[in-house]
């Protein structure tokens, strides 16, 4: 299989973009019901898109900062990353050797966004991320499967899962791995939920995820795992670099993007 891929890659002499597509899974779009933020409608539609099969690793990110010195930890613009940004690295160019195959964390939203853009990709939206993450190994939407929900919730409870090696868990329906039970992941519009969620509540723009107010407007009260993800996202600012927060990239699957030559 790998040979075939190499052959194809060589044959078409295609750019990074298509080689990356192999590392990505095509997610067929559809309608889904998000936990928050679609007003009176209950469903929102998600178009076709590609999503990285794996979270970005330390090795990937080390390559990135070597090519782009402005994202090295001593060079990064302070506005774009807080003081924890890559703070566990040995130096500007060298990530801790034992973490190479672990998901990169302690990166800000700005850095994650820049990484994806340099690959000709982008961060997934919250809707895209949630849509892809509701798939179990066999179903596109496993949210009604209580066992699946329990397993996600349980994986969220485990401490220090950011020390796990990427790619060891089972692929989901789309062929994507490690969406749950490893690290939280940055999304393009992570901070948009509170605003849309609260704009319905008589124009009250206070954060809606506190106490009982968090349940106002939520569509699925029993989806505790989703509550945890939305609470997590709403606690973030774009310069935060957390030990438990990484990312993966996405790409449109429109015809204009499918065979782009560099």
């Amino acid at each position: 299989m790998r040979k075939l891929i190499l052959l194809m890659a060589g044959f078409f002499l295609i750019s990074n973009a298509s080689a990356q597509t192999i590392q990505m899974a095509l997610i067929e779009g559809g309608n889904y019901t998000p936990l928050y933020g679609v007003g009176e409608q209950s469903e929102t539609s998600v178009g076709d898109f590609y999503l990285d099969k794996l979270p970005v690793t330390y090795a990937d990110f080390q390559e990135f900062v070597r090519k782009h010195p402005k994202w090295q930890k001593s060079n990064v613009t302070k506005l774009f990353a807080d003081s924890r940004y890559l703070s566990n690295w040995e130096n500007d160019l060298k990530a801790p050797a034992n973490l190479m195959d672990k998901p990169i964390t302690m990166v800000s939203w700005f850095a994650a966004k820049a990484y994806c853009e340099c690959q000709g990709k982008r961060l997934p939206t919250v809707d895209e991320w949630e849509y892809a993450a509701m798939a179990s190994t066999s179903k596109r939407d496993a949210r009604s499967d209580s066992l699946y929900n329990v397993s996600i919730l349980r994986s969220y409870e485990q401490p220090k899962t950011y020390m796990k090696t990427v790619g060891n868990s089972e692929s989901n329906y789309w062929g994507v791995q490690d969406m749950h039970g490893m690290v939280w992941e940055w999304t393009q519009d992570f901070n948009s939920i509170i605003l849309t969620g609260e704009s319905r509540n008589n124009g009250n723009t206070d954060a809606g995820l506190f106490c009982a107010a968090g349940a106002i407007g939520a569509k699925d009260m029993m989806n505790y795992a989703a509550f945890m993800r939305f609470a997590m996202r709403s606690s973030l600012k774009a310069n935060f670099s957390l030990t438990t927060l990484g990312f993966r990239c996405a790409k449109d699957a429109g015809p204009q993007n499918q065979l782009t030559f560099k």
Partner: protein, 492 residues
């Protein structure tokens, strides 16, 4: 006090009754004034602060020193949020989320009028954002919004305490129920001007209900069970975060004659507590932690998210038992704690047992044994044949399932008792097996068995009876085992 006066006038002198009723109301009013009703009439939002200090926060069951008569001050306090595995019961652990590394969280003590600058720190290894809603705080979410903090970050917010009382604080991040169910709650005490009256000992006790995948006592790390939490079916109801939170080496200690104050809170998330101390009466209960004081109370109800201040004098030495008097929680789910009071006996208050006699109700001098009772209660002294008869019944209840009706056992699993060399060789060893159980390889009649027999929860007489039955059946050597022999082995 007025009952004697009321009786003769009942039905006759309504005007007088009315006046009496008025007098009664006036009386209760003045009483409540004595207990601090004036405090809520005063506006503490304008109280000036004098000086500043770093407030000491304490882990349960300890509380920081009283405020005494100090003026209102500016207080600085810090609290770290952790997510860590700790003990729930012997051999059972749970991933608790904590304020300050303990369940319940650190005790906060302040004075009405204090201005507090509160720093909340979310440990970088934590997976989740958290915040704090202090019921003592007037303002958006009790501080929940202002304190909402991502892992690896800290937030500082400030507030003025304008109502005295004992209040719960808790985490209010979605999913709120889960954050509370994992132990994120504690107490904040706002003392009135001049402080609470001094006492000898103060303790901090908080109840919480927990929902685990495994049933009560199932060993290992137990994950949170969302469905049980939703159904309000806790496996654990405990004081101070674990079944052993207030017993064994964690038991509270006091001396006879000391006055004791318990700051009692209920974190929930679901259950209200019927709090009671077995062997004591609360001299005073600050109902709901507020100004109203009730006297001479046995059991007081503390709602989830509520608190009460309880005061009593430990009059005599004893082990006082703290329970949730919704009593199955105490004996089957862990809501049980000990306050050990040591010191001199006071026979005027409690004389202990002064006499034991035989109770013979009239007309029932002939005692009848229950015919088909499930419980076999042997007479105190038994002849060999009585032992055998009793022993047969016990055998059919406790032993038959494995060793079979005629002591033949089950091949390769449960050794035979019929004509068994291992059994006949040593009576004392047989007694030990019943008392303490047996595991590991043994050889019986030339065949090897490697299995586990649990120890049997039987009285001395019952052990004696069942062994005598076995020794006198199926070709065994006819030994007689007496309760005394069993008792001797038990004491070894």
């Amino acid at each position: 006090m007025n009952y004697k006066n009321i009786r003769p006038i009942k039905g006759y002198f309504y005007p007088l009754l009315f006046i009496l009723a008025l007098a009664f109301t006036a009386c209760t009013q003045s009483q409540s004034r004595n207990t601090g009703a004036k405090s809520y009439t005063k506006d503490y939002s304008k109280t000036k602060v004098f000086g500043e200090m770093v407030a000491e926060l304490t882990a349960p069951p300890h509380v920081p020193p009283p405020v005494g008569n100090r003026p209102a001050m500016k207080l600085y306090m810090e609290m770290e949020i952790t997510e860590e595995e700790m003990e729930m019961a012997d051999g059972v652990s749970y991933l608790f989320w904590t304020f300050g590394g303990t369940v319940p969280g650190s005790f906060i003590r302040a004075r009405v009028g204090d201005e507090v600058e509160f720093k909340i720190k979310n440990h970088p290894d934590n997976k989740l954002p958290h915040n704090i809603d202090l019921h003592a705080v007037t303002g958006q979410g009790g501080g929940a919004e202002a304190s909402f903090v991502a892992p690896g970050h800290e937030k500082t917010f400030s507030f003025k305490l304008i109502n005295p009382g004992l209040y719960v604080y808790h985490c209010a991040t979605a999913p709120v129920g889960m954050h509370i169910a994992n132990g994120m709650y504690g107490l904040i005490l706002v003392e009135p001007e001049g402080g609470l009256p001094p006492v000898d000992k103060e303790f901090y006790v908080m109840q919480g209900d927990f929902y685990t995948e495994g049933r009560f006592g199932e060993p290992g790390l137990q994950p949170f069970d969302m469905q049980k939490a939703y159904d309000e079916r806790p496996d654990y109801v405990v004081f101070n975060g674990s079944v052993n939170g207030l017993s064994g080496e964690n038991a509270l200690q006091a001396k006879a004659g000391e006055t004791i104050r318990i700051f009692f809170g209920n974190g929930g998330p679901n259950l209200a507590s019927s709090f009671h101390v077995i062997g004591e009466i609360f001299d005073k209960v600050y109902v709901d932690g507020g100004d109203q004081i009730n006297s001479n109370v046995g059991t007081t109800l503390v709602p989830a998210g509520g608190a009460a201040i309880l005061e009593f004098k430990a009059d005599v030495p004893s082990n006082l038992v703290l329970v949730d008097h919704s009593i199955f929680r105490a004996f089957n789910k862990g809501a049980l704690g000990i306050l050990s009071v040591t010191g001199e006996e006071n026979e005027k208050i409690f004389a202990g047992e002064i006499m034991e006699g035989i109770y013979l109700p009239e007309g029932s001098t002939i005692q009848k044994m229950p015919k088909d009772g499930n419980v076999v209660s042997p007479p105190v002294t038994m002849t060999k044949s009585e032992l055998i008869d009793t022993g047969k019944k016990i055998y059919m209840q406790a032993c038959f399932a494995c060793h079979q009706a005629n002591g033949e056992g089950v091949a390769n699993a449960f050794p035979p008792l019929a004509n068994a060399d291992y059994l006949n060789a040593d009576v004392n060893r047989s007694i030990d097996v019943l008392l303490h159980g047996l595991s590991g390889e043994i050889t019986v009649n030339g065949k090897k068995y490697n299995s586990i027999m649990p120890s049997q929860q039987l009285k001395d007489e019952e052990v004696a009876a069942v062994l005598t039955y076995v020794y006198n059946s199926w070709g065994n050597n006819g030994s007689e085992v007496t309760p005394e022999m069993v008792n001797k082995r038990r004491k070894k």
